[in-house]
């Protein structure tokens, strides 16, 4: 398959390139030019041609939760959102703690020939936080890192040993910092909104206490840790200091937490029931700023399809999570505009920066890089409504929003996998 994308505004966040031009793909990779006639030509006049987006947290719900979403529905949502590579957390049912499961997931995903799927293996068996998984075999099966997802890891001895073991072989560990005991029973940020609504709170220090523990263990073990879904200003500050100290840590934030805060819960809106919880305006602003300053490396959709039965419940009983794949681009653009960033800098947070964390060659437009592209109209409006989402999860706090940024073509390995 030879592809010629012409007349586009080519944006390569890895180099800062932002200029009109053409992009060529042959045999799955980006090339300088084509010797033969292209099989397909896309006229990208007025459109941005960027590397395909890379999303570090996408729950595909397979295996085990197919009533919420299937690989088919969510891979369609991914490419509709311009996402060409995604990492999926291990909290499936059963969890991704055996090579066979990982292998099956990768085969199923590959057969769909849409986005590239990078499974994150379970750090502990059944995510129970007790014994380590066979990380070597899971890596051979295709796991790119190990994580507890949102499952608690209360036993710090296990965390310590897990980091030591992973560091021995150079496996990255992805962790969300939350102290199980401090967060126990909580469903919303412990602040004025939770007090007013009578919702049990999760204090900010549930995150910073756990993060301080993780950072101390990184210091002790030398393990590479990616910190998932920061939610507090305090965590941004701790990461700032850890990076100044050159600890091997990176971190991300979910699209929800740079745009929303606990006030958005309003009168118990279960769409705002998320993990971690939406925090204060101050936290939201610190995360948005930290992302602009590069303290926070990248943003992810934290795509978590939840069906209506899971959301039509009182706030505390509602299932946490929101659909996000198709909102990643518009919400990234909204954030970039608010931070007054140039387009390459904005897109870096969903392309080159997450590529670096995943350790993959995509996320850039350069000869030899994988031929993954997102071609979009940055001005075209999208109205977020259940009917307009390809994902089987129709629930998001952004329902009813009108956002700018519509994907027109998504290309994976030179194949056009989505045309909008």
């Amino acid at each position: 398959m030879r592809l010629h994308v012409k007349n586009g505004r080519v944006v390569d966040p890895a180099t800062g390139r932002d200029a009109l031009g053409d992009v060529f793909v042959a045999e799955g990779r980006i090339v300088d030019g084509l010797r033969d006639q292209p099989d397909k030509v896309i006229d990208a006049k007025g459109l941005v041609v960027a590397p395909g987006f890379i999303d570090l947290s996408v729950r595909l719900r397979e295996p085990g939760q197919e009533h919420k979403a299937t690989l088919e529905s969510e891979m369609a949502a991914a490419v509709a959102g311009g996402v060409t590579s995604l990492a999926c957390p291990p909290d499936t049912d059963p969890p991704l703690d055996e090579p066979g499961l990982v292998d099956m997931l990768r085969r199923r995903a590959k057969a769909l020939t849409r986005a590239r799927v990078y499974p994150i293996g379970a750090l502990t068996v059944k995510l129970e936080g007790k014994s380590l998984t066979e990380m070597g075999q899971l890596t051979e099966a295709g796991c790119v890192a190990f994580s507890q997802a949102n499952a608690p890891l209360a036993d710090t001895q296990v965390l310590w040993r897990g980091l030591q073991y992973a560091a021995t072989f150079g496996y990255p560990v992805w962790l969300r910092a939350e102290d199980v005991w401090l967060a126990k029973g909580g469903v919303a940020h412990d602040g004025e909104t939770a007090t007013r609504l009578g919702l049990p709170g999760i204090p900010s220090f549930a995150e910073t206490v756990a993060l301080a523990t993780i950072l101390e263990l990184v210091r002790a073990t030398g393990a590479s840790v990616h910190l998932c879904r920061l939610s507090t200003a305090g965590a941004v500050e701790l990461v700032r200091r850890a990076k100044a100290e050159r600890l091997p840590v990176t971190c991300d934030v979910a699209i929800h937490h740079i745009h929303l805060c606990d006030l958005d819960i309003g009168y118990f809106d279960p769409q705002c029931r998320l993990e971690p919880p939406l925090r204060s305006q101050r936290d939201r602003d610190a995360l948005a700023r930290g992302l602009a300053e590069g303290i926070v490396d990248c943003m992810c959709s934290d795509h978590t399809p939840v069906d209506d039965d899971g959301k039509h419940l009182p706030f505390a009983e509602a299932e946490p999570g929101a659909t996000g794949l198709e909102l990643l681009l518009p919400l990234a653009l909204k954030w970039g505009a608010a931070q007054k960033l140039a387009l390459p800098a904005t897109l870096a947070r969903i392309t080159s920066a997450p590529a670096k964390i995943l350790g993959v060659a995509s996320g850039r437009i350069a000869p030899g890089a994988p031929g993954d592209l997102a071609i979009f109209d940055p001005q075209a409006a999208v109205r977020i409504a259940p009917g307009s989402l390809k994902s089987q999860g129709k629930n998001t706090p952004f329902l009813g929003y009108e956002l700018a940024g519509r994907v027109k073509y998504t290309v994976v390995a030179g194949n056009v996998v989505y045309e909008g």
Binding site: D190, G191, E192, A194, T195, R196, L197, G198, L199, P200, G201, P203, G266, Y267, F268, P270, D309, H312, L313, P314, F315, A316, E317
Partner: protein, 315 residues
Amino acid sequence: MNNPQLNANGELQHLLSIEGLPREIVTQILDTAESFAGVTEREVKKVPLLRGKSVFNLFFEPSTRTRTTFEIAAKRLSADVINLNIAISSQTKGESLLDTVANLSAMQADIFVVRHNSSGAPFLIARHVKPHEHVVNAGDGRHAHPTQGLLDLFTIRHYKKDFSRLTVAIVGDILHSRVARSLIHGLTTLGVPEVRVIAPQTLLPTGVEALGVRVFHDMREGLRGVDVVVMLRLQNERMGGALLPSAQEFNKHYGLTADKLALANPDAIVMHPGPMNRGVEIDSSVADGPHSVILPQVTFGIAVRMAVMSIVAGN
């Protein structure tokens, strides 16, 4: 953000929380309750305002006092009352909250009186009922217990007449108390200049000052010069965990004794939403003493609930 308890004309469609209610509506409820207070003293204690209407008492959490006073109030308004103790029926069969409500709605309900252990549950129900149906919150989680708050306001107005010069102290487990939250909103809405909360840090929610209260940890200091003392029930399950060491120690610091009450104004009134733990948050000498208005609160509760149901049904 639309206030989900008001209709398009700004009238009370549901009573879900005192928070966000305009002062006029709070006053309207209290005035209407005043007119019903006479009915409850008559020999024939009925008015026909809700004749032919059905009131469903939906209690997902056990309650005796609140359920009974709602039932009496509905009957005095001539409504048909159906009591459903859902805590031991459909919930254990796995039926969802909204399915339960939809089924009862199909039985031609007019008013749902809802108690639920999850904060916000009545808001969810109110969003899904038909336009002619009304939801009255009878207590949701830690969030709100608006009819209790209103009957507390009614009691204070009955004894103190004017809200604009009062100092009110609420003492005890503010953290878990929907009664405290509703009363605080009611008092600030009616312009009470000083609302105090008195509790140890473990029983105060984060940022409680934002509700417009002054925080005291020392009960003696907090009671000085107050006109109204509201004692909250301390539930047994809060004892002996990480929140409080023991009932005895709580009583020592935060139990209302005649000795501590002497620091309040001489004509102060003492209130309690019930049921009381004598010897824990309140001594019998105070509960049964001359300052206590705890039993009149219960009586006023019926008139206030009649007022609420007649007002929502009329809008």
